[in-house]
């Protein structure tokens, strides 16, 4: 016996002993305990470096975290329901859960993006900027432009925006500080947007327009690249950068795209374009439209092969400093470009200098922080150069500096304030300082050390704890990126910090939304011709899935759509074409549903309100179907599903109420649990049968309920040789139904189909075969019971689908999706999954005509057996 066996056995001891020994929760001083659950929420804490105010775990903390948890529950519920059970119709594709938050009603939608692409914005939305937030968009800078262009940090009155507007975080409110993805359309739009630190521009092909915060762009471009400008005879830049290898035609101006816009004097800016391997620079006058193509000269003996201009700095005198770095990490330099187009070399780098981490110009001195690499490793060097004499005033390796040493330096866009981040030699502590340009006089603003990290629950990276990767600032804020999607915001006014973090789920998941694979023919248009705003807030008639593929223990109509939204699991996803773009919270019902759901039988929608079950149309008009009291149900009865079987309707809840088409009670079957619903034709029969069995362990009697109105009676039958432990603490197995058979695992271990009308039992998967064993599941070690909600197989059009881990390996590394034709017995493997991405047991269910396969981390794989199409969705 192994210690593990004992631990496992401990997990099964009497609940009496577990309860008896229940430890009292500690009122601990464990800072992580206190802070940990606040991922994705704002944490305003005093920017003291002492870390003295230890935040204790209290009930209040947990209450504060509740909403996050509930949201996840809802999400999980949606995912689970979407995966396994209701199978009502096509489902949406959506890849990021960080967006599963409540969007403010005025949040950016696709239509707004479209509007902002227009030159004539909607006046009513003037306060909504082109990023979807409110108010003026402001730019945090790091003093340089170019290298981090895609990582510009922006903010407005409502949000912070990161990484090229591909993500954002609310500045205030319940979700403040939660790092989320932007709608992909907005991010795509932003790829056209550049800024010069103050103004925004919209780039379209070779033209550049000014762009206002509300999305208005200038009617005429402020700059337009023409082939004429690229004529080598008129530009002297080419000999400087080109080599024999790159003496290619460059007359095709379509190769060039805008890289940077750097402000110079009042109206002038430097425009940088690249068309690999070539570069183009011009000075443009925004007022007059005059363009001066730059001959960059003065840099003697450049490395021509792949020299690039990577970062730029506006100087107070209107000149621009440009860093020429070599992609080969050798050589480079800094040139100064004056507003009149003349240029000079300020300094050259040699050896293995590969990156200018920071530089600034003050009082005619150039300050540079270089990131070098040599045989010893990475090191940082600091230099100070007199721009008049080009003399190097200071040059020292920061690697040898006393503790601490400058790791990062940055400035606000207007270069009014300089900052540095110093890294302490233990590499687990850093501090933010306000400084003078020469880094002689520094004032510590905030320090992150082990205690502070503990207090604020900062996540460590594997190789370096608490490190700052990048930083930006303006006159009010300093934003520092720690690692990945974790940011520290330092408020220069209040001297407090706030953390911005991802939710912590599925880090590194793919982002953005996929195309929705929607077969509209499998949906019922609820109210053809309806064009107004429907009761869910969208436009036009609701469309509901025709096809009932199982039953939903959670109830509700799991998927609907209209002209503007997809709806699923209590969430709204604005749609653009067949894409879903952003989660936006709960449907805004115009009436109080209480805790009830909207449920669908594939043809109609029902809601329970006013002590009655009502039909509801797209406009929200209610038509009573039956009163709860008339069917013997109390006012709290909650129906979680409805199925039309023939001309009768089965409402499934705590009690199963069966009514006719007029809502008159036909039967009540409270003592059984719904096992499966057999789908009928999506167009006429609706559901064919509902199968019930008792919840008691070992009960194998099945009731097949058919339509009493058509003369068919309920059929009771016992599955022959049925394995009784269909669900208990130790073991479970999972059934399925075809049009005429109930599928189950018999006591010999064979997976069988039983036709209750003929009494015929057919062995579908032989006992002892890995395939049959795949239909069962044992409780996980230490688990209180098997996962009874698991679905191990699904039937679509007479074919059974299930997952089978490699049966010939004790430690399988893959599992195959198997298709078994129930008529011909033909069996084939369809696709394989890495077992590392499959939970055990995994769920497999039907959505529309597709299979939904549960993967780990809230990801579901959708597979269309008809087309072989596979795509993945993440709900977290």
């Amino acid at each position: 016996m192994k210690p593990n066996d004992l631990l496992d056995a401990m997990g099964r001891i009497s609940s009496e002993y577990v309860t008896e020994a229940k430890p009292a929760p500690k009122q601990q001083t464990d800072a992580r305990t206190a802070q940990n659950g606040v991922q994705g929420s704002a944490e305003p804490v005093t920017g003291s470096s002492s870390g003295a105010s230890v935040h204790q775990t209290t009930e209040k903390d947990y209450v504060m975290k509740k909403n996050t948890i509930i949201r996840r529950i809802t999400t999980g519920f949606a995912a689970a329901a979407a995966c396994a059970v209701f199978a009502g119709g096509g489902w949406f594709i959506y890849k990021q859960a960080q967006q599963q938050t409540e969007q403010e009603p005025d949040g950016q939608t696709v239509s707004e993006v479209s509007q902002s692409e227009s030159s004539t914005p909607d006046v009513q939305q003037i306060s909504t900027n082109f990023l979807g937030g409110k108010g003026e968009i402001r730019i945090l800078g790091n003093g340089m432009q170019g290298e981090s262009e895609n990582e510009t940090v922006l903010y407005d009155d409502t949000r912070w925006y990161f990484n090229g507007a591909s993500s954002y975080a609310d500045r205030t409110g319940e979700n403040a500080g939660a790092y989320r993805l932007m709608p992909s359309e907005v991010t795509a739009y932003y790829t056209h947007v550049l800024n010069d630190g103050k103004h925004f521009y919209y780039a379209e092909e070779q033209s550049l327009y000014t762009l206002e915060d509300d999305g208005t762009r200038s009617a005429e471009p402020v700059f337009q690249l023409t082939d004429n400008m690229l004529d080598p005879a008129k530009t002297a830049w080419r000999p400087l950068f080109s080599s024999e290898d790159t003496e290619a035609d460059h007359g095709d101006s379509t190769q060039f795209s805008f890289r940077n816009i750097v402000p110079m004097s009042e109206n002038k800016c430097l425009i940088v374009m690249s068309g690999p391997p070539e570069w183009f620079m011009a000075i443009c006058d925004r007022e007059t439209g005059d363009v001066q193509v730059l001959p960059i000269s003065g840099l003697a003996n450049p490395q021509p092969d792949d020299t690039i201009c990577s970062i730029f700095l506006s100087c107070a005198d209107g000149s621009v400093m440009a860093v020429l770095n070599s992609a080969t990490m050798k050589d480079g330099g800094i040139i100064r470009i004056a507003p009149d187009g003349s240029s000079e070399v300020c300094t050259r780098f040699s050896g293995n200098t590969n990156k200018v981490r920071y530089y600034s110009v003050t009082n005619n001195k150039l300050y540079v922080l270089l990131d070098s690499y040599d045989e010893i490793g990475y090191r940082y060097e600091y230099g100070e150069i007199d721009l008049s004499t080009h003399d190097i005033v200071k040059n020292r390796s920061l690697y040898d500096e006393p503790d601490p040493w400058v790791y990062l330096a940055f400035s606000d866009p207007e270069r009014k304030q300089d900052f540095v981040v110093k890294l302490f030699l233990d590499e687990t502590s850093w501090a933010l300082y306000a400084t003078d340009p020469g880094w002689e006089s520094m004032t510590e603003l905030y320090r992150m050390d082990e205690a502070e990290a503990e207090r604020t629950n900062c996540r460590q990276t594997d190789d370096s704890a608490y490190k700052i990767e990048d930083a930006w600032a303006d006159a009010h804020y300093v934003m520092m990126r720690m690692n990945g999607e974790q940011f520290v915001l330092y408020d220069l006014g209040s001297k407090t910090v706030q953390f911005i973090r991802a939710s912590g789920e599925a880090e590194g998941e793919a982002t953005g939304a996929d195309e929705l694979h929607l077969d509209e023919s499998q949906y019922t248009e609820l109210d053809p011709g309806f064009t107004g705003t429907n009761f869910l807030g969208g436009q036009g008639s609701l469309h509901i899935p025709k096809r009932i593929g199982g039953f939903s223990p959670y109830g509700s109509c799991e998927f609907m759509y209209d002209e503007t939204y997809y709806y699923g699991g209590g969430m709204i996803f604005p749609r653009s074409g067949n894409r879903c773009v952003e989660y936006s919270g709960n449907p805004d019902y115009e009436f109080d549903l209480g805790s009830h759901y909207i449920i669908s039988d594939g043809e109609r929608l029902y809601v329970t309100t006013n002590s009655a079950v009502n039909l509801i149309d797209s406009s929200g008009k209610l038509t009573p179907f039956f009163r709860l009291s008339d069917v013997g149900a109390d006012e709290y009865e909650k129906f979680t599903g409805v199925f039309r079987i023939g001309s009768s309707y089965l409402f499934y809840g705590a009690e199963n109420i069966w009514v006719d088409e007029n809502g008159r009670l036909l039967n009540v079957s409270p003592e059984y649990a719904l096992a499966r619903v057999c789908p009928g034709s999506p167009d006429d029969e609706r559901s064919k049968y509902a199968y019930f069995w008792g919840l008691e362990v070992g009960k194998t009697e099945i009731h097949r309920l058919a339509d009493p109105a058509s003369g068919e009676k309920t059929l009771k039958f016992t599955l022959p040789d049925c394995r009784e432990d269909w669900y208990n603490e130790e073991y479970g197995w999972f059934s399925a139904v075809t049009d005429d058979k109930f599928l189950y695992l018999d006591k010999n271990g064979a997976f069988c189909g039983y036709d209750p009308d003929t009494g015929e039992k057919t062995v579908l998967l032989e006992a002892g075969s890995p395939d049959a064993e795949a239909m069962g599941v044992k409780a996980e070690a230490g688990s209180p019971d098997v996962d009874a909600m698991g679905f191990r197989c699904a039937v679509i059009d007479g074919k059974l689908y299930y997952m089978l881990a490699d049966p010939y390996s004790e430690q399988p590394d893959h599992a195959d999706l198997i298709q078994l034709d129930l008529n011909t017995g033909e069996r084939q493997k369809l696709i394989s999954f890495d077992v590392a991405e499959l939970p055990s047991p995994n769920w497999i269910g039907r959505i529309d005509s597709k299979l939904s396969i549960e993967l780990l981390n809230g990801v579901f794989a959708y597979y269309d057996p008809a087309t072989g199409e596979l795509f993945r969705v993440s709900y977290f």
């Binding site: 066996d5 496992d8 001891i13 309860t19 020994a21 992580r32 305990t33 991922q39 529950i73 912590g504």
Partner: protein
């Protein structure tokens, strides 16, 4: 709110069920998960998973002792996470220590023996019934909840060494008991 009322909320599919569960049991679940995983963040995620698992399982499950049920679910999820984290050679908490201690009474690890887990659990249950309540609580806190010895000592107002001795003696008794029952 008592257990039955709470379970009724789950059966009604009310989101209040999770909120109330979190309010009543969140801190205890967190503690169990933290003891096992040794990492605050993992523990918090584990508690979230527990709430989702409860939502998925109730109904049809109808636990008689809600606390024991949620604690068992938490332990199960946390142990699975622990195993996964160990596979990646990261994290880990009191479980490793507990396993080491249980070597005392688990016999020869190299002997391949098919253990009837159900029978072992029943035997363990019976063994616990023979212990004095305090010793049993200490044992369960250590090997079910994976509480650190320091915490147990604090809970019972004992010194750390007294808890350690109590655990050692109980393990010794357990070993004898398991031998008598034919498990070793």
């Amino acid at each position: 709110m008592n257990d039955q009322e709470l379970i009724a909320l789950y059966y009604a599919r009310s989101e209040q069920a999770s909120a109330e569960t979190y309010r009543q049991f969140g801190s205890c679940c967190y503690m169990i998960a933290r003891n096992i995983l040794g990492c605050a963040q993992d523990a918090e995620e584990c508690v979230n998973d527990v709430l989702i698992r409860l939502w998925d399982r109730i109904p049809p499950a109808k636990p008689k002792n809600f606390f024991a049920y949620i604690a068992a679910v938490t332990r199960s999820i946390a142990c699975n996470r622990y195993i996964a984290s160990r596979a990646k050679k990261r994290g880990g908490g009191e479980v490793a220590l507990a396993l080491e201690e249980l070597c005392d009474c688990s016999g020869d690890e190299n002997v391949e023996q098919e253990i009837d887990k159900k029978a072992l659990a029943e035997a363990l249950d019976a063994f616990l019934g023979t212990l004095k309540p305090d010793h049993r609580k200490i044992f369960v806190q250590r090997y079910w909840y994976f509480c650190p010895v320091d915490d147990i000592a604090e809970q019972f107002g004992m010194t750390k060494s007294k808890v350690t001795v109590s655990l050692m003696r109980t393990r010794e008794k357990l070993r004898n008991y398991l031998e008598e029952e034919g498990f070793l």
